[in-house]
Structures are given as C-alpha cells and as structure tokens.
Amino acid sequence: MLSYALRRLVSLALSLAVASLVVFLVVEVAPGDPARYMLGTGAQEDTVAALRAELGLDRPRVERYLAWVGGLLTGDLGTSYTYRTPVAQMVADRLWVSLPLALFALALSTLLAFPAGLYAAARRGRAGDVAVMGATQLGIAVPNFWFAMLLVLLFAINLGWFGAGGFPGWSDPLAAIKALTLPAVALALPQAAILARVLRSALIDVLGEDFIRTARAKGLTRFQALWRHGVRNALIPVLTIVGLQFSFLLAGAIIIEQVFFLPGLGRLIFQAISARDLIVVESVVMLLVFAVILVTFLTDLAYAWVDPRLRRRR
C-alpha cells in the first residue's frame, strides 16, 4: 500500500513537470501581446515597449519558464499582468466561489443519482426503470447552458425565487448559498444523469454476481442484498465518475459561470486568456491539473478503501 502510494507520488511529480512544460508552451505560443492588449489602439510603440519591460515580458522564454516553475515550487504563483495582484490571491478569491459551487453540485448530483440508480437497478426492466433511464437520457442530452437559461427564465424572471446570477460573497452565507443554487442545479442535473446510469449498470453487473445469490440464500430480501452487498461492490466505477466529475466541475463550469456571471475560476481563466494574462492562465491551469491529479490519486486510495483486493496489488 505504502510503496504503491510512493510510486504514485513519483509519477505524479513527473506528470506535473510534463504538464508545466506543456502549459507554458501552449500558452506562450498563443498570438497576442498582453501589453498591447492593455494599452489598446491609442498606444504608441514606445509605450508598449515600456509596459513589456515593466511586466518582464522582454526576458527570454527559458528564463521566464524557469522563474515561473521556481515560483510554483515555492508556492509563488506570480503576479497577474493585468490585475497586478498576486495570482495566488486571485485564485484563492475565486476558489471561494468555484469550490463551494463544485461541492454543492456534486452533492446534489450524488443525492439525485443514488436513489435514482438504486431504484432503477432494483426495478430493472420494469416501467420504473424505463422511466428513470429515459429521464437520465434526457438529462444527458440537454446542454447545460441551455438548461441554465431555462432555469433562469423560470425561477429568476418568472417566479422571482432566485437572483439571475452574481455572487454576494460569504458574509451572508444564506444569500451566498441561494446565489449558488441555480448554477449548482444546472451543473448537477446532467452529472446526476450520468452518475445514475453508471450506478445502475454497475449495480446490475454486481447483481449478476454469484455472491448476491449467496446473500439471498442467507435469507436477505432482494433489496437488502442490493443494499448490503451490491452497493459497495458497485462503488468503484461510481467513484471514478465522481472523481472525474469533481475535476470537471472545478474548471468546467466556465459556461455556467458566464451565464450566471459568477466570479469563479473558470471565468477567471476565460478572461485571462482573452487578456493574454499569460501568467494567470499558466498558473491556474497548472493548479487545476494538480487538483485533478490529486483527486485521481485520492480516488485511487478510495478504491483501496472500498475494495480490499486492491490494497495489496501493484
């Protein structure tokens, strides 16, 4: 178990190194100059040069890469070209929106998916199953930005139950949660649909296993067998999906953040890319990559917790 964790850590470090190079190159190759973007159409060439010098953009690429990576290693993400504030600070601010949103959406999707998946698996092939699975197909097929728009139309404009967007900050937790509700629902529903399907098919696979029949021979009812012996065995594929979804929710909410004008990480990247705020893009992408790799790592550890057979191997 420990050696497995160690090996994983080494490959994690290697992955991060490769990722940093890829991120840096990709971002640097993008045409467009942050200084010129800042100064607009009225600027003179010497002004642009002055700003480039001020931002350190006139240094060679290799030097800037090394400086950036060095900074990352010491926990310094650099200073934004446009905002002129430390990237770490900006990311921290945005995380206070993105992280709760992701967790909220994840919780919602899990809460929806579990009963739905269990129910459908238990009633496999009957009307209830067909109805739930039909609903999940629809949930997957509806683009979430479209769904978000419908939510806003209904709940913000027509009913007035929620604001149309924005985020008031955590000073008033209730208002903050309220502001995150519609976005979380918009994000959660497709995810829940996917999760419910995965759970159902994993459960059905497990239900075909011999040990479920053994459990039934002990005198457990169909549902008891499903609940006590099926769920945990079906958890591995479900965990994989949950892990992937969390990573997706953290960064992939860009469009939803746009629709609800939330000051989240996704929109930060979006703005930073269009402003060619290279350092912000690089650092935030790196951070996200790190988060995903970490989540994958944790998911793997969780596998071992769920399935004792995986504790020894590898």
Partner: protein, 271 residues
Amino acid sequence: MTRRLLPGAVLSALVILAALVSFVWTPGDVASVEVAQRLQPPSAAHWLGTDQLGRDILSMLMVGARTSIAVALLAVGIGIGAGVPLGLAAAALHGSWLDEVIMRGNDLIFAFPALVIAILITAIAGPGAVNAIVAIGIFNVPVFARLSRGAALSLWSRDFVLAARLAGKGKPRISAEHILPNLANLLIVQGTIQFSLGILAEAGLSYVGLGAQPPVPSWGRMLAEAQTLVAIAPHVALMPGLAIVLTVLGLNLLGDGLRDALDPRLRDLRT
C-alpha cells in the same frame, strides 16, 4: 433489430438524412440575409420560421447538422485512430515502460481541463471547425486508449490468444487479427456515446464562439445568438436546442440499443 434499438436508430437516421439532403437541397438559402424577413414564426414558407437575419431556420438546422456530425465524427475518428493503437500497444506490452508512458500520458490529458484547452487551442490557431475537431478529438484519445487497453488486457489472458501465440504469431499480428476484432463491439458502442458527446461539445464550443465560424451554420452558435430572443421569438432559440437534444438523445439510445444487441452477455440474459 431489437425493440430498444428502434427509437435511437430512427432519430439518428433522421438527423443524418437531414444532413445528407442538405447537400443537394434545403428549403431556403442559408446564405441569404434578408433583415426584413427576420424572426418570422413558423409558416408554410418557412416551416420552422426565420432567424434574426431572416434565414430559414429549417435550412440552417439541416446544414448545421452537417457541421455537428462532421465535427463529432472526425473527433471520434481522431480518438479511435490514435487511442486504439495506443491502447493495443500498451496492452501488448503490458508492464513495460511504454505501457507506463502511454497510461501516464492518458492520465495527463485527462487532467487538463478540457474546455480550457479547447479555448487555448482556438486562441493559438483561431476558432473554427478544424480546431474544434482537434480540441474535442484530443480528449477522445485517452477514452479509447483506456477502453481498448482494458479490454485488450483481458483478451490477452484468454486461451485463444495463448493459442495464437503458440501458433507462432507476433504481438502486432495477434493485436490486429484477434484482439481488435473482438474489441469492435465495444468500440462501436463507445463510439456512439463519444459521438453524441462530441455533438454536445461542439455545441458548447460554438456557444462560446469557438466552433465553426459564420457563415457556416452551427447549432451551438444558433443557440447562442438566439438566446436573447427567447422573450421575443422563442422558436428561434427553441429549434436549435431541440435539434441538439433530439440528436444526442437519439445517439445515446442507439448506443444503448447497440450495447444490448452486441453484448452477448446481455443478449443471453434476455432470452
């Protein structure tokens, strides 16, 4: 054809048919802008009405289907074309450094936030259908690599592969002759699923302006451009949304149906 395959197959066939027909005929001209004709509700002349520039929505949808299908299909093609050989190689050389590199590379691609990378790609190369294909395709590669590696690994431990090795066949040849054909069902099923995801992804990219560029119609962009019109001309926003939903739904149902029809384990259970 099984009962469950039918709705999905019919829906998908309709969309593909619409796309094909659009090559030779559309009810209206998608390039003609007639501002005076804009935002007309559905009528005999324009079955689904006209959009904000007075173009026939049905025609736009038909040609847009072409875009969606082409982008998604090519993206899946990239995924299969690159992912399957990688997965097969990794499985054939299971435990070697190549396997490790391929799998870690896969993890790494998975670790990048997809939409962000798509945005970056279009920032480098400019937006457009080709770049959307590349962006979506890249993220299909690990999906197929992983899938084919996993399935191939279990096939490699099967006796018939052992028999082929005893027959003196090399790893590449066994991969091509025995492993790949046995993966076909799996790939078809996953292919349909990725295809539908590709259509959603293309719509999402076009929605933020990174997909196919005007004047080429695209469902996602139609949806984005019509969003503010919901209150004035709901049909303009509704139609592309419905087109996406129905297409993705159709493909997903088709994928499910195919899984049932092709997976012998499930087939046996049903009889």
